[in-house]
Subunit: 214 residues, 2 copies
Amino acid sequence: MRVGILGSGLMGAKLGTLFARAGHDVVFSYSRSERKLKRLAREAGGRARAGTPREAAREADAVLLAVHWSRVGDVLKRAGDLAGKVIVSCSLPMNANDTDLAIAHTSSGAEALARKVRTARVVAAFGTVPSEVLFDVFASRRKRPRPSLLYCGDDTGAKKVAARLIRDVGFEPVDAGPLRMARNMEPFTLLIAQLAYEGDRGPELAYRFEWRGR
Amino acid sequence: MRVGILGSGLMGAKLGTLFARAGHDVVFSYSRSERKLKRLAREAGGRARAGTPREAAREADAVLLAVHWSRVGDVLKRAGDLAGKVIVSCSLPMNANDTDLAIAHTSSGAEALARKVRTARVVAAFGTVPSEVLFDVFASRRKRPRPSLLYCGDDTGAKKVAARLIRDVGFEPVDAGPLRMARNMEPFTLLIAQLAYEGDRGPELAYRFEWRGR
């Protein structure tokens, strides 16, 4: 698949690198530093390259939205027409000083995003794990039971694309249902952040849902 | 320990039974049916017995609050003085028709409860797993890796009591921090409910946090 990365910070850089290692065509975009984008593309290997948000979105089978919430409007404007595109978003709707969700309970960041880009197909995914755990999960994907990764959305086809990307980086996709479940997934992300960054066991945290059989 | 069960519905009945099997003195209370309470006590074995909420709370080292949110005021009134008591609550602040959280984002059921019983020591726990998984987790507690169970609260001593009860029924307690983290734990409970009751893999669902080491 062709995957455009909008936002090459911690999450975007790592996920883009892993998508490239899993064999996808990746375009890194939207970093303050053009040099950083080029370095990311070089280190990711394969056919990864640096580009503008518009280049990242063009011909992409999926676009990863991985910017700070305050940058969503700007990066979408730069990406151009996203009609019909699959947008996989891990952007959490944090307020300006990053202390709390700016949208919650009666809506969610994912739903607000879907309203902003009505013609695109939005899936919420990847937000629920710290970036610090990604490389380890990818490296051990054939060696140990996979951790879960929640995703939700209203478009079945888009969810299939997201589930494939989730599996490609080493997680087991767990379908949390319609996009409105982001109202619960986004607070779950804050819970994960608390365990990862405020606890004493470090940020390399993943989670696994276990259905117990008889 | 002496554990008083306030609310002997699905969660209260099962947790009380497991507390009794783990060796604690349990008093089941607050069911519409006195006969049900007596049957629960008989089947739980040990020194479990049926009683009134007041009897359940008296001399209890911990009280499990496991009633529908609409009954919290009533059961607390019947329980009498709870000054200094450890209240472990799994009551979710659902609205009257059980479709959504009635308190969220800027507060939580656990915090609202703590404001109602200012002299008690509130811990939120046990709400994040379906009652259907409890017996299996208890039965296999020595055979397989334990699932996690989140808890949060502001009183260190009360959290220790809750952590012990969590461990006694077969889970690994995971400290989610202060009571205000219930704002994220309660939506997580809705996420768990979605996976357990709306998915196709059934309600015997547990979760595990995994810190990946080097």
